[in-house]
Protein backbone atom coordinates (compact mmCIF):
# COMPACT_ATOMS: atom_id res chain seq x y z
CA UNK A 1 0.00 0.00 0.00
CA UNK A 2 2.73 2.45 0.97
CA UNK A 3 4.67 1.60 -2.17
CA UNK A 4 1.55 2.04 -4.29
CA UNK A 5 1.04 5.51 -2.84
CA UNK A 6 4.66 6.33 -3.58
CA UNK A 7 4.24 5.22 -7.18
CA UNK A 8 1.03 7.25 -7.55
CA UNK A 9 2.69 10.39 -6.20
CA UNK A 10 5.78 9.95 -8.33
CA UNK A 11 3.84 9.20 -11.48
CA UNK A 12 1.45 12.08 -10.79
CA UNK A 13 4.21 14.61 -10.37
CA UNK A 14 6.06 13.26 -13.41
CA UNK A 15 2.90 13.61 -15.48
CA UNK A 16 2.32 17.19 -14.27
CA UNK A 17 5.85 18.06 -15.32
CA UNK A 18 5.20 16.89 -18.90
CA UNK A 19 4.33 19.47 -21.51
CA UNK A 20 1.13 17.89 -22.77
CA UNK A 21 -2.13 19.18 -21.34
CA UNK A 22 -3.77 15.75 -21.30
CA UNK A 23 -0.90 14.31 -19.32
CA UNK A 24 -1.29 17.21 -16.93
CA UNK A 25 -4.83 16.08 -16.15
CA UNK A 26 -3.76 12.46 -15.76
CA UNK A 27 -1.09 13.66 -13.35
CA UNK A 28 -3.64 15.59 -11.29
CA UNK A 29 -5.92 12.55 -11.13
CA UNK A 30 -3.09 10.24 -10.04
CA UNK A 31 -1.91 12.70 -7.43
CA UNK A 32 -5.44 13.07 -6.08
CA UNK A 33 -5.85 9.31 -5.75
CA UNK A 34 -2.46 9.05 -4.09
CA UNK A 35 -3.45 11.64 -1.50
CA UNK A 36 -6.75 9.86 -0.81
CA UNK A 37 -5.03 6.53 -0.29
CA UNK A 38 -2.52 8.21 1.98
CA UNK A 39 -5.31 9.46 4.25
CA UNK A 40 -6.75 5.94 4.20
CA UNK A 41 -3.44 4.36 5.11
CA UNK A 42 -2.57 6.84 7.83
CA UNK A 43 -5.98 6.35 9.44
CA UNK A 44 -4.61 2.98 10.66
CA UNK A 45 -6.62 0.51 8.61
CA UNK A 46 -8.15 -2.24 10.74
CA UNK A 47 -10.11 -5.08 9.25
CA UNK A 48 -13.57 -6.09 10.36
CA UNK A 49 -13.76 -3.97 13.51
CA UNK A 50 -16.60 -1.51 13.06
CA UNK A 51 -16.62 1.33 15.60
CA UNK A 52 -19.89 0.20 17.17
CA UNK A 53 -20.15 0.35 20.94
CA UNK A 54 -21.39 -2.85 22.55
CA UNK A 55 -24.57 -2.89 24.52
CA UNK A 56 -23.87 -2.09 28.12
CA UNK A 57 -20.47 -0.53 27.47
CA UNK A 58 -19.85 3.19 27.37
CA UNK A 59 -16.71 3.40 25.29
CA UNK A 60 -14.89 1.27 22.78
CA UNK A 61 -12.28 -0.87 24.45
CA UNK A 62 -10.72 -2.91 21.63
CA UNK A 63 -8.97 -1.47 18.61
CA UNK A 64 -11.47 -0.32 16.04
CA UNK A 65 -11.50 1.07 12.54
CA UNK A 66 -11.38 4.86 12.67
CA UNK A 67 -14.34 6.20 10.68
CA UNK A 68 -12.96 9.73 10.32
CA UNK A 69 -10.47 9.04 7.48
CA UNK A 70 -13.24 7.47 5.45
CA UNK A 71 -15.36 10.58 5.86
CA UNK A 72 -12.36 12.69 4.88
CA UNK A 73 -11.66 10.59 1.79
CA UNK A 74 -15.29 10.75 0.73
CA UNK A 75 -15.14 14.54 0.88
CA UNK A 76 -11.79 14.65 -0.87
CA UNK A 77 -12.97 12.30 -3.63
CA UNK A 78 -16.00 14.44 -4.34
CA UNK A 79 -13.88 17.56 -4.45
CA UNK A 80 -11.23 16.05 -6.71
CA UNK A 81 -13.98 14.71 -8.98
CA UNK A 82 -15.40 18.17 -9.41
CA UNK A 83 -11.98 19.59 -10.05
CA UNK A 84 -11.11 16.94 -12.59
CA UNK A 85 -14.27 17.50 -14.57
CA UNK A 86 -13.59 21.23 -14.52
CA UNK A 87 -10.02 20.56 -15.64
CA UNK A 88 -11.16 18.48 -18.59
CA UNK A 89 -13.56 21.17 -19.77
CA UNK A 90 -10.88 23.80 -19.26
CA UNK A 91 -8.27 22.04 -21.39
CA UNK A 92 -10.86 21.36 -24.07
CA UNK A 93 -11.67 25.08 -24.23
CA UNK A 94 -8.01 26.00 -24.04
CA UNK A 95 -7.19 23.57 -26.83
CA UNK A 96 -9.93 25.02 -29.04
CA UNK A 97 -8.79 28.56 -28.37
CA UNK A 98 -5.01 28.15 -28.50
CA UNK A 99 -4.92 25.22 -30.95
CA UNK A 100 -2.10 23.44 -29.19
CA UNK A 101 -1.78 21.13 -26.25
CA UNK A 102 1.88 21.91 -25.74
CA UNK A 103 2.38 24.01 -22.62
CA UNK A 104 5.57 25.48 -24.04
CA UNK A 105 3.58 27.25 -26.71
CA UNK A 106 1.15 28.77 -24.26
CA UNK A 107 2.96 32.02 -23.73
CA UNK A 108 0.45 34.67 -24.78
CA UNK A 109 0.31 35.79 -21.15
CA UNK A 110 4.00 36.62 -21.12
CA UNK A 111 4.00 38.71 -24.24
CA UNK A 112 4.30 42.46 -24.09
CA UNK A 113 0.96 44.14 -24.29
Amino acid sequence: MAILIGILYAAGIYMILRRSLVKLIIGIILLGNGANLLIFLLGRITQGKPPVIDEGANILIAAYADPVPQALILTAIVISFGIQSFAIVLIKRAYKEVKTDDLNEMNATDEES
Partner: protein, 508 residues
Protein backbone atom coordinates in the same frame (compact mmCIF):
# COMPACT_ATOMS: atom_id res chain seq x y z
CA UNK B 1 -29.88 34.09 17.57
CA UNK B 2 -26.68 35.81 18.61
CA UNK B 3 -25.00 32.56 19.62
CA UNK B 4 -24.72 31.58 15.99
CA UNK B 5 -23.36 34.98 14.97
CA UNK B 6 -20.05 33.49 13.88
CA UNK B 7 -21.65 31.57 11.05
CA UNK B 8 -23.72 34.47 9.72
CA UNK B 9 -21.08 35.91 7.36
CA UNK B 10 -20.74 32.46 5.79
CA UNK B 11 -24.47 31.77 5.60
CA UNK B 12 -25.20 35.21 4.19
CA UNK B 13 -22.86 34.72 1.24
CA UNK B 14 -24.26 31.25 0.61
CA UNK B 15 -27.78 32.65 0.64
CA UNK B 16 -26.80 35.46 -1.73
CA UNK B 17 -25.16 32.99 -4.10
CA UNK B 18 -28.31 30.86 -4.19
CA UNK B 19 -30.68 33.80 -4.60
CA UNK B 20 -28.56 35.14 -7.44
CA UNK B 21 -28.76 31.77 -9.20
CA UNK B 22 -32.52 32.23 -9.48
CA UNK B 23 -32.03 35.55 -11.19
CA UNK B 24 -29.73 33.92 -13.76
CA UNK B 25 -30.85 35.87 -16.83
CA UNK B 26 -31.78 39.11 -15.15
CA UNK B 27 -28.49 40.95 -14.97
CA UNK B 28 -30.02 44.16 -13.68
CA UNK B 29 -31.60 42.37 -10.73
CA UNK B 30 -28.36 40.52 -10.02
CA UNK B 31 -26.44 43.79 -9.78
CA UNK B 32 -28.93 45.22 -7.29
CA UNK B 33 -29.05 42.06 -5.17
CA UNK B 34 -25.29 41.75 -5.13
CA UNK B 35 -24.65 45.31 -4.01
CA UNK B 36 -27.45 45.33 -1.41
CA UNK B 37 -26.38 41.92 -0.14
CA UNK B 38 -22.80 43.07 0.22
CA UNK B 39 -23.97 46.07 2.25
CA UNK B 40 -25.77 43.63 4.56
CA UNK B 41 -22.52 41.64 4.62
CA UNK B 42 -20.62 44.69 5.86
CA UNK B 43 -23.22 45.24 8.59
CA UNK B 44 -23.00 41.60 9.71
CA UNK B 45 -19.20 41.71 9.72
CA UNK B 46 -19.19 44.94 11.74
CA UNK B 47 -21.59 43.44 14.30
CA UNK B 48 -19.41 40.33 14.53
CA UNK B 49 -16.27 42.40 14.90
CA UNK B 50 -17.72 44.58 17.66
CA UNK B 51 -19.06 41.59 19.56
CA UNK B 52 -15.71 39.76 19.34
CA UNK B 53 -13.86 42.93 20.35
CA UNK B 54 -15.99 43.28 23.48
CA UNK B 55 -16.55 39.67 24.49
CA UNK B 56 -13.53 37.78 23.16
CA UNK B 57 -13.37 34.63 21.09
CA UNK B 58 -16.63 32.96 20.12
CA UNK B 59 -17.20 29.35 19.13
CA UNK B 60 -19.91 27.60 17.17
CA UNK B 61 -19.84 23.83 17.22
CA UNK B 62 -21.50 22.16 14.30
CA UNK B 63 -24.38 20.00 15.46
CA UNK B 64 -23.50 20.83 19.11
CA UNK B 65 -20.96 18.02 19.20
CA UNK B 66 -18.27 18.86 21.74
CA UNK B 67 -15.13 20.48 20.41
CA UNK B 68 -12.40 18.04 19.43
CA UNK B 69 -14.93 15.79 17.69
CA UNK B 70 -17.01 18.30 15.81
CA UNK B 71 -16.17 20.87 13.22
CA UNK B 72 -15.90 24.16 15.03
CA UNK B 73 -16.12 27.70 13.78
CA UNK B 74 -13.91 29.95 15.83
CA UNK B 75 -14.16 33.70 15.57
CA UNK B 76 -11.23 35.26 17.36
CA UNK B 77 -10.25 38.84 16.77
CA UNK B 78 -7.89 37.93 13.90
CA UNK B 79 -10.60 36.07 11.99
CA UNK B 80 -13.17 38.78 12.72
CA UNK B 81 -10.84 41.49 11.39
CA UNK B 82 -10.27 39.60 8.17
CA UNK B 83 -13.97 38.91 7.74
CA UNK B 84 -14.56 42.63 8.15
CA UNK B 85 -11.94 43.47 5.51
CA UNK B 86 -13.37 40.80 3.20
CA UNK B 87 -16.78 42.37 3.48
CA UNK B 88 -15.36 45.81 2.62
CA UNK B 89 -13.52 44.45 -0.37
CA UNK B 90 -16.60 42.41 -1.35
CA UNK B 91 -18.84 45.47 -1.31
CA UNK B 92 -16.35 47.54 -3.30
CA UNK B 93 -15.80 44.86 -5.92
CA UNK B 94 -19.52 44.04 -6.20
CA UNK B 95 -20.19 47.65 -7.07
CA UNK B 96 -17.14 47.91 -9.32
CA UNK B 97 -17.96 44.76 -11.24
CA UNK B 98 -21.55 45.75 -11.85
CA UNK B 99 -20.17 48.81 -13.62
CA UNK B 100 -17.22 47.33 -15.48
CA UNK B 101 -17.73 43.63 -16.17
CA UNK B 102 -19.33 43.06 -19.55
CA UNK B 103 -23.01 42.01 -19.45
CA UNK B 104 -22.11 38.93 -21.48
CA UNK B 105 -19.95 37.71 -18.63
CA UNK B 106 -22.54 38.67 -16.04
CA UNK B 107 -25.06 36.45 -17.84
CA UNK B 108 -22.94 33.39 -17.20
CA UNK B 109 -23.24 33.48 -13.46
CA UNK B 110 -20.56 35.99 -12.54
CA UNK B 111 -22.30 37.27 -9.43
CA UNK B 112 -23.32 33.91 -7.89
CA UNK B 113 -19.77 32.64 -8.28
CA UNK B 114 -18.41 35.87 -6.85
CA UNK B 115 -20.48 35.36 -3.73
CA UNK B 116 -19.43 31.71 -3.49
CA UNK B 117 -15.85 32.96 -3.55
CA UNK B 118 -16.61 35.28 -0.64
CA UNK B 119 -18.33 32.36 1.08
CA UNK B 120 -15.14 30.34 0.81
CA UNK B 121 -13.01 33.22 2.07
CA UNK B 122 -15.20 33.84 5.10
CA UNK B 123 -15.29 30.13 5.82
CA UNK B 124 -11.52 29.81 5.62
CA UNK B 125 -11.07 32.70 8.04
CA UNK B 126 -13.60 31.44 10.55
CA UNK B 127 -13.03 27.70 10.65
CA UNK B 128 -11.20 26.04 13.50
CA UNK B 129 -10.73 22.69 11.82
CA UNK B 130 -7.91 21.77 9.51
CA UNK B 131 -9.81 19.58 7.07
CA UNK B 132 -12.60 22.09 6.99
CA UNK B 133 -9.98 24.67 6.03
CA UNK B 134 -9.06 22.42 3.11
CA UNK B 135 -12.69 22.29 2.00
CA UNK B 136 -12.98 26.09 2.15
CA UNK B 137 -9.79 26.39 0.14
CA UNK B 138 -11.33 24.15 -2.50
CA UNK B 139 -14.45 26.31 -2.60
CA UNK B 140 -12.24 29.35 -3.03
CA UNK B 141 -10.16 27.88 -5.83
CA UNK B 142 -13.08 26.37 -7.73
CA UNK B 143 -14.91 29.71 -7.67
CA UNK B 144 -11.74 31.49 -8.66
CA UNK B 145 -11.21 29.12 -11.59
CA UNK B 146 -14.65 29.98 -12.88
CA UNK B 147 -14.11 33.69 -12.36
CA UNK B 148 -10.76 33.61 -14.11
CA UNK B 149 -12.07 31.71 -17.15
CA UNK B 150 -15.47 33.34 -17.49
CA UNK B 151 -15.54 35.04 -20.87
CA UNK B 152 -13.12 32.56 -22.38
CA UNK B 153 -10.58 34.80 -24.09
CA UNK B 154 -7.35 33.22 -25.26
CA UNK B 155 -5.11 34.88 -22.69
CA UNK B 156 -7.61 34.11 -19.95
CA UNK B 157 -7.64 30.40 -20.74
CA UNK B 158 -3.89 30.18 -20.89
CA UNK B 159 -3.53 32.05 -17.62
CA UNK B 160 -6.20 29.79 -16.16
CA UNK B 161 -4.31 26.61 -17.11
CA UNK B 162 -1.25 27.81 -15.21
CA UNK B 163 -3.23 29.14 -12.28
CA UNK B 164 -5.28 25.97 -12.13
CA UNK B 165 -2.37 23.52 -12.20
CA UNK B 166 -0.35 25.15 -9.46
CA UNK B 167 -3.33 25.71 -7.20
CA UNK B 168 -4.43 22.08 -7.54
CA UNK B 169 -0.89 21.03 -6.76
CA UNK B 170 -0.95 23.24 -3.67
CA UNK B 171 -4.23 21.68 -2.55
CA UNK B 172 -2.85 18.18 -3.00
CA UNK B 173 0.23 19.04 -0.94
CA UNK B 174 -1.99 20.56 1.71
CA UNK B 175 -4.15 17.42 1.73
CA UNK B 176 -1.04 15.24 2.06
CA UNK B 177 0.09 17.34 4.98
CA UNK B 178 -3.31 16.92 6.64
CA UNK B 179 -3.13 13.16 6.09
CA UNK B 180 0.30 12.89 7.69
CA UNK B 181 -0.69 15.12 10.58
CA UNK B 182 -3.83 13.12 11.18
CA UNK B 183 -1.79 9.93 11.15
CA UNK B 184 0.58 11.44 13.70
CA UNK B 185 -1.88 12.97 16.09
CA UNK B 186 -5.34 11.57 15.37
CA UNK B 187 -6.96 14.98 15.42
CA UNK B 188 -7.98 17.69 13.01
CA UNK B 189 -9.16 20.37 15.39
CA UNK B 190 -6.59 23.16 15.37
CA UNK B 191 -6.77 23.85 19.10
CA UNK B 192 -6.57 20.15 19.87
CA UNK B 193 -3.66 19.79 17.46
CA UNK B 194 -1.82 22.61 19.19
CA UNK B 195 -1.74 20.48 22.33
CA UNK B 196 -1.12 17.14 20.66
CA UNK B 197 1.60 18.14 18.19
CA UNK B 198 3.75 19.44 21.05
CA UNK B 199 3.74 15.96 22.58
CA UNK B 200 4.62 13.94 19.49
CA UNK B 201 7.94 12.14 19.88
CA UNK B 202 8.82 11.88 16.20
CA UNK B 203 10.00 15.47 15.66
CA UNK B 204 11.48 14.80 12.22
CA UNK B 205 8.14 13.78 10.83
CA UNK B 206 6.51 16.82 12.43
CA UNK B 207 9.08 18.99 10.69
CA UNK B 208 8.36 17.30 7.37
CA UNK B 209 4.66 17.96 7.88
CA UNK B 210 5.37 21.56 8.71
CA UNK B 211 7.34 21.88 5.48
CA UNK B 212 4.46 20.34 3.53
CA UNK B 213 2.09 22.90 5.04
CA UNK B 214 4.51 25.65 4.20
CA UNK B 215 4.81 24.57 0.56
CA UNK B 216 1.05 24.13 0.21
CA UNK B 217 0.21 27.54 1.65
CA UNK B 218 3.30 29.05 0.08
CA UNK B 219 2.08 28.29 -3.44
CA UNK B 220 -1.26 29.86 -2.59
CA UNK B 221 0.27 32.96 -1.08
CA UNK B 222 2.87 33.24 -3.88
CA UNK B 223 6.15 33.34 -1.96
CA UNK B 224 9.51 33.30 -3.65
CA UNK B 225 10.19 30.09 -5.53
CA UNK B 226 6.49 29.28 -5.86
CA UNK B 227 4.96 32.44 -7.29
CA UNK B 228 5.20 31.96 -11.05
CA UNK B 229 1.52 31.27 -11.57
CA UNK B 230 0.57 34.69 -10.24
CA UNK B 231 2.03 37.10 -12.80
CA UNK B 232 1.01 34.68 -15.54
CA UNK B 233 -2.65 34.83 -14.67
CA UNK B 234 -3.67 37.85 -12.62
CA UNK B 235 -3.68 40.33 -15.48
CA UNK B 236 -5.90 38.21 -17.73
CA UNK B 237 -9.42 38.35 -16.17
CA UNK B 238 -11.53 41.53 -15.94
CA UNK B 239 -10.06 44.07 -13.49
CA UNK B 240 -12.87 43.51 -10.98
CA UNK B 241 -11.87 39.85 -10.72
CA UNK B 242 -8.19 40.73 -10.40
CA UNK B 243 -9.13 43.14 -7.63
CA UNK B 244 -10.75 40.49 -5.46
CA UNK B 245 -8.00 37.99 -6.29
CA UNK B 246 -5.17 40.40 -5.62
CA UNK B 247 -6.78 41.69 -2.46
CA UNK B 248 -7.80 38.45 -0.86
CA UNK B 249 -6.70 35.18 -2.47
CA UNK B 250 -3.01 35.38 -1.69
CA UNK B 251 -3.84 36.84 1.70
CA UNK B 252 -5.89 33.81 2.66
CA UNK B 253 -2.71 31.79 2.13
CA UNK B 254 -0.84 34.19 4.39
CA UNK B 255 -3.63 33.94 6.94
CA UNK B 256 -3.38 30.14 6.90
CA UNK B 257 0.41 30.32 7.27
CA UNK B 258 0.19 32.65 10.25
CA UNK B 259 -2.57 30.62 11.84
CA UNK B 260 -0.96 27.20 11.38
CA UNK B 261 2.55 28.23 12.31
CA UNK B 262 1.62 30.21 15.41
CA UNK B 263 -0.93 27.70 16.68
CA UNK B 264 0.12 24.23 15.58
CA UNK B 265 3.86 24.46 14.93
CA UNK B 266 5.14 27.18 17.25
CA UNK B 267 8.26 25.20 18.18
CA UNK B 268 9.77 24.58 14.76
CA UNK B 269 12.65 27.00 15.11
CA UNK B 270 14.52 25.93 11.99
CA UNK B 271 11.48 26.86 9.88
CA UNK B 272 11.84 30.47 10.97
CA UNK B 273 15.17 30.67 9.20
CA UNK B 274 13.51 29.29 6.08
CA UNK B 275 10.77 31.90 6.43
CA UNK B 276 13.33 34.67 6.67
CA UNK B 277 15.29 33.46 3.64
CA UNK B 278 12.09 33.04 1.63
CA UNK B 279 10.84 36.45 2.74
CA UNK B 280 14.05 38.19 1.70
CA UNK B 281 14.06 36.47 -1.69
CA UNK B 282 10.36 37.21 -2.19
CA UNK B 283 10.94 40.88 -1.49
CA UNK B 284 13.83 41.03 -3.96
CA UNK B 285 12.29 39.02 -6.77
CA UNK B 286 8.88 40.69 -6.55
CA UNK B 287 10.36 44.17 -6.61
CA UNK B 288 12.77 43.45 -9.43
CA UNK B 289 10.06 41.67 -11.41
CA UNK B 290 7.80 44.70 -11.10
CA UNK B 291 10.59 46.95 -12.30
CA UNK B 292 10.79 45.56 -15.82
CA UNK B 293 7.11 45.11 -16.64
CA UNK B 294 5.27 47.32 -19.06
CA UNK B 295 1.69 46.26 -18.41
CA UNK B 296 0.25 48.13 -15.42
CA UNK B 297 -1.57 45.09 -14.16
CA UNK B 298 1.56 42.95 -14.36
CA UNK B 299 3.44 45.59 -12.35
CA UNK B 300 0.74 45.34 -9.71
CA UNK B 301 0.90 41.53 -9.83
CA UNK B 302 4.60 41.59 -9.05
CA UNK B 303 4.01 44.13 -6.31
CA UNK B 304 1.60 41.65 -4.67
CA UNK B 305 4.44 39.11 -4.57
CA UNK B 306 6.89 41.67 -3.27
CA UNK B 307 4.62 42.73 -0.43
CA UNK B 308 3.80 39.16 0.62
CA UNK B 309 7.47 39.17 1.64
CA UNK B 310 6.83 41.72 4.41
CA UNK B 311 4.26 39.47 6.06
CA UNK B 312 6.41 36.36 5.79
CA UNK B 313 9.34 38.31 7.24
CA UNK B 314 7.16 39.28 10.20
CA UNK B 315 6.20 35.65 10.71
CA UNK B 316 9.83 34.56 10.35
CA UNK B 317 11.05 36.92 13.07
CA UNK B 318 8.36 35.48 15.34
CA UNK B 319 8.31 38.11 18.03
CA UNK B 320 5.18 39.81 19.16
CA UNK B 321 6.04 43.16 17.63
CA UNK B 322 7.02 41.55 14.33
CA UNK B 323 3.79 39.55 14.15
CA UNK B 324 1.85 42.72 14.95
CA UNK B 325 3.69 44.39 12.08
CA UNK B 326 2.82 41.52 9.76
CA UNK B 327 -0.86 41.69 10.77
CA UNK B 328 -0.92 45.46 10.28
CA UNK B 329 0.65 44.97 6.87
CA UNK B 330 -1.94 42.31 6.03
CA UNK B 331 -4.79 44.68 6.94
CA UNK B 332 -3.26 47.50 4.91
CA UNK B 333 -2.37 45.28 1.98
CA UNK B 334 -5.85 43.78 1.48
CA UNK B 335 -7.32 47.24 1.08
CA UNK B 336 -4.55 48.70 -1.06
CA UNK B 337 -4.20 45.78 -3.47
CA UNK B 338 -7.95 45.61 -4.04
CA UNK B 339 -7.85 49.28 -4.82
CA UNK B 340 -4.84 49.02 -7.15
CA UNK B 341 -6.51 46.56 -9.49
CA UNK B 342 -9.70 48.59 -9.52
CA UNK B 343 -7.57 51.60 -10.41
CA UNK B 344 -5.99 49.65 -13.26
CA UNK B 345 -9.51 48.95 -14.51
CA UNK B 346 -10.38 52.61 -14.17
CA UNK B 347 -7.30 53.67 -16.12
CA UNK B 348 -8.22 51.23 -18.86
CA UNK B 349 -11.70 52.70 -19.00
CA UNK B 350 -10.34 56.22 -19.18
CA UNK B 351 -7.58 55.68 -21.71
CA UNK B 352 -8.10 52.30 -23.35
CA UNK B 353 -4.73 50.75 -22.64
CA UNK B 354 -2.77 48.95 -19.96
CA UNK B 355 0.64 49.67 -21.41
CA UNK B 356 2.75 52.11 -19.42
CA UNK B 357 4.54 53.25 -22.56
CA UNK B 358 1.38 54.01 -24.50
CA UNK B 359 -0.43 55.74 -21.66
CA UNK B 360 0.07 59.32 -20.64
CA UNK B 361 -1.48 62.63 -19.80
CA UNK B 362 -3.90 61.26 -17.27
CA UNK B 363 -3.25 64.10 -14.85
CA UNK B 364 -3.92 66.69 -17.50
CA UNK B 365 -7.19 65.12 -18.56
CA UNK B 366 -8.56 63.91 -15.22
CA UNK B 367 -6.92 65.86 -12.36
CA UNK B 368 -9.48 64.92 -9.70
CA UNK B 369 -9.32 61.20 -10.42
CA UNK B 370 -5.52 61.42 -10.46
CA UNK B 371 -5.51 62.94 -6.97
CA UNK B 372 -7.70 60.06 -5.82
CA UNK B 373 -5.26 57.58 -7.31
CA UNK B 374 -2.15 59.21 -5.84
CA UNK B 375 -3.61 58.81 -2.34
CA UNK B 376 -3.77 55.10 -2.92
CA UNK B 377 -0.29 54.97 -4.44
CA UNK B 378 1.14 56.78 -1.42
CA UNK B 379 -0.50 54.24 0.87
CA UNK B 380 1.11 51.48 -1.16
CA UNK B 381 4.57 53.00 -1.02
CA UNK B 382 4.21 53.91 2.62
CA UNK B 383 5.07 57.59 2.68
CA UNK B 384 4.96 58.46 6.38
CA UNK B 385 1.43 59.54 7.14
CA UNK B 386 -0.05 56.87 4.87
CA UNK B 387 -0.87 53.32 5.81
CA UNK B 388 2.08 51.37 4.39
CA UNK B 389 4.56 53.16 6.62
CA UNK B 390 3.49 52.02 10.10
CA UNK B 391 3.81 48.23 9.71
CA UNK B 392 7.17 48.66 7.99
CA UNK B 393 8.28 50.72 10.97
CA UNK B 394 7.47 47.92 13.42
CA UNK B 395 9.06 45.31 11.17
CA UNK B 396 12.24 47.36 10.81
CA UNK B 397 12.53 48.13 14.51
CA UNK B 398 12.16 44.48 15.30
CA UNK B 399 14.64 43.40 12.63
CA UNK B 400 17.19 45.80 14.15
CA UNK B 401 16.47 44.44 17.59
CA UNK B 402 17.17 40.84 16.65
CA UNK B 403 20.08 42.07 14.52
CA UNK B 404 19.01 40.41 11.32
CA UNK B 405 20.37 42.86 8.78
CA UNK B 406 19.25 40.79 5.80
CA UNK B 407 15.67 41.60 6.66
CA UNK B 408 16.51 45.24 7.25
CA UNK B 409 18.20 45.45 3.87
CA UNK B 410 15.47 43.59 2.03
CA UNK B 411 12.67 45.66 3.57
CA UNK B 412 14.45 48.92 2.78
CA UNK B 413 15.33 47.87 -0.75
CA UNK B 414 11.85 46.57 -1.49
CA UNK B 415 10.28 49.77 -0.14
CA UNK B 416 12.66 51.86 -2.17
CA UNK B 417 12.00 49.88 -5.34
CA UNK B 418 8.25 50.15 -4.76
CA UNK B 419 8.68 53.89 -4.49
CA UNK B 420 10.73 53.91 -7.67
CA UNK B 421 8.17 51.82 -9.56
CA UNK B 422 5.29 54.01 -8.47
CA UNK B 423 7.26 57.13 -9.31
CA UNK B 424 7.98 55.73 -12.78
CA UNK B 425 4.32 54.82 -13.19
CA UNK B 426 3.26 58.28 -12.12
CA UNK B 427 5.59 60.16 -14.41
CA UNK B 428 4.87 57.90 -17.38
CA UNK B 429 1.13 57.43 -17.06
CA UNK B 430 0.09 60.71 -15.49
CA UNK B 431 2.58 63.35 -16.55
CA UNK B 432 3.93 62.29 -19.94
CA UNK B 433 2.17 63.61 -23.04
CA UNK B 434 -0.18 61.01 -24.37
CA UNK B 435 0.30 59.69 -27.86
CA UNK B 436 -2.54 57.29 -27.59
CA UNK B 437 -5.75 57.72 -29.48
CA UNK B 438 -8.68 56.06 -27.80
CA UNK B 439 -9.11 53.02 -29.94
CA UNK B 440 -12.51 51.55 -30.60
CA UNK B 441 -13.17 48.18 -29.09
CA UNK B 442 -16.00 46.30 -27.50
CA UNK B 443 -15.37 48.12 -24.23
CA UNK B 444 -17.42 51.05 -23.10
CA UNK B 445 -15.21 53.90 -22.07
CA UNK B 446 -15.80 56.33 -19.31
CA UNK B 447 -17.37 59.05 -21.40
CA UNK B 448 -19.75 56.57 -23.03
CA UNK B 449 -20.95 55.18 -19.77
CA UNK B 450 -24.18 56.14 -18.12
CA UNK B 451 -23.89 58.45 -15.14
CA UNK B 452 -24.90 55.89 -12.51
CA UNK B 453 -22.46 53.34 -13.94
CA UNK B 454 -19.67 55.87 -13.56
CA UNK B 455 -20.70 56.41 -9.96
CA UNK B 456 -20.67 52.65 -9.42
CA UNK B 457 -17.17 52.53 -10.81
CA UNK B 458 -15.74 55.45 -8.86
CA UNK B 459 -17.55 54.99 -5.55
CA UNK B 460 -15.77 51.76 -4.55
CA UNK B 461 -12.38 53.28 -5.28
CA UNK B 462 -13.23 56.30 -3.14
CA UNK B 463 -14.60 53.99 -0.44
CA UNK B 464 -11.47 51.83 -0.26
CA UNK B 465 -9.21 54.88 -0.47
CA UNK B 466 -10.99 56.37 2.53
CA UNK B 467 -10.45 53.13 4.46
CA UNK B 468 -6.77 53.14 3.46
CA UNK B 469 -6.44 56.73 4.60
CA UNK B 470 -8.14 55.84 7.85
CA UNK B 471 -5.66 52.98 8.35
CA UNK B 472 -2.86 55.47 7.76
CA UNK B 473 -4.04 58.46 9.73
CA UNK B 474 -5.62 56.54 12.58
CA UNK B 475 -2.70 54.14 12.73
CA UNK B 476 -2.88 54.05 16.50
CA UNK B 477 -6.23 52.24 16.45
CA UNK B 478 -5.00 49.71 13.93
CA UNK B 479 -1.78 49.25 15.90
CA UNK B 480 -3.78 48.51 19.04
CA UNK B 481 -5.81 46.02 17.05
CA UNK B 482 -2.77 44.33 15.51
CA UNK B 483 -1.02 44.13 18.86
CA UNK B 484 -4.07 42.49 20.36
CA UNK B 485 -4.18 39.99 17.49
CA UNK B 486 -0.44 39.31 17.82
CA UNK B 487 -0.86 38.84 21.54
CA UNK B 488 -3.62 36.28 20.95
CA UNK B 489 -1.51 34.51 18.34
CA UNK B 490 1.65 34.36 20.42
CA UNK B 491 -0.19 33.17 23.52
CA UNK B 492 -2.70 30.75 22.04
CA UNK B 493 -3.74 29.33 25.41
CA UNK B 494 -6.97 31.38 25.66
CA UNK B 495 -7.85 30.29 22.11
CA UNK B 496 -7.26 26.64 22.95
CA UNK B 497 -9.20 26.96 26.20
CA UNK B 498 -12.07 28.69 24.46
CA UNK B 499 -12.35 25.87 21.95
CA UNK B 500 -11.77 22.93 24.26
CA UNK B 501 -13.19 24.04 27.60
CA UNK B 502 -16.75 23.38 26.60
CA UNK B 503 -15.94 19.68 26.38
CA UNK B 504 -15.00 19.51 30.03
CA UNK B 505 -18.17 21.24 31.04
CA UNK B 506 -20.19 18.74 29.05
CA UNK B 507 -18.31 15.80 30.48
CA UNK B 508 -18.93 16.99 34.00
Amino acid sequence: MMAQLTTYPILLQLLLGIILMFAWNNVKLQRIISILGSIVGVVVAVVLFISIWNDGTQIVEAGSWPAPFSIVFVADIFAATLVLLTSFAGLAVASFSSATVMPLRLKFGYFPIFHFLLLGLNGAFLTGDLFNLYVWFEIIIISSFVLITIGGEKAQLEGAVKYFTLNILASMIFLTAIAVLYGLSGSLNMADLALKVAQIENRTLVEVTAILFFVGFGIKSAVFPLYFWLPASYHTPPPAVSAIFGGLLTKVGVYALIRVFTLIFPDEVFLRDIFIVVAVLTLFSGAIGALVQNNIRKVFSYLIICHIGFMIAGLGMFTEVAIAGAIFYLIHDIMVKTNLFMISGLIYRLKGSNSIRALGGLYEDFPKISLLIIASFCSLVGLPPFSGFWPKLSLLTEAFKIENYWIVGAILLASFLTLFIIWKLWSEVFWKKSELKTSSSSYLFNHDMKYHRRIQMLAPIIFITIISLYIGFAAENIQVLSERIADELMNPQPYIDAVLNKTEILEL
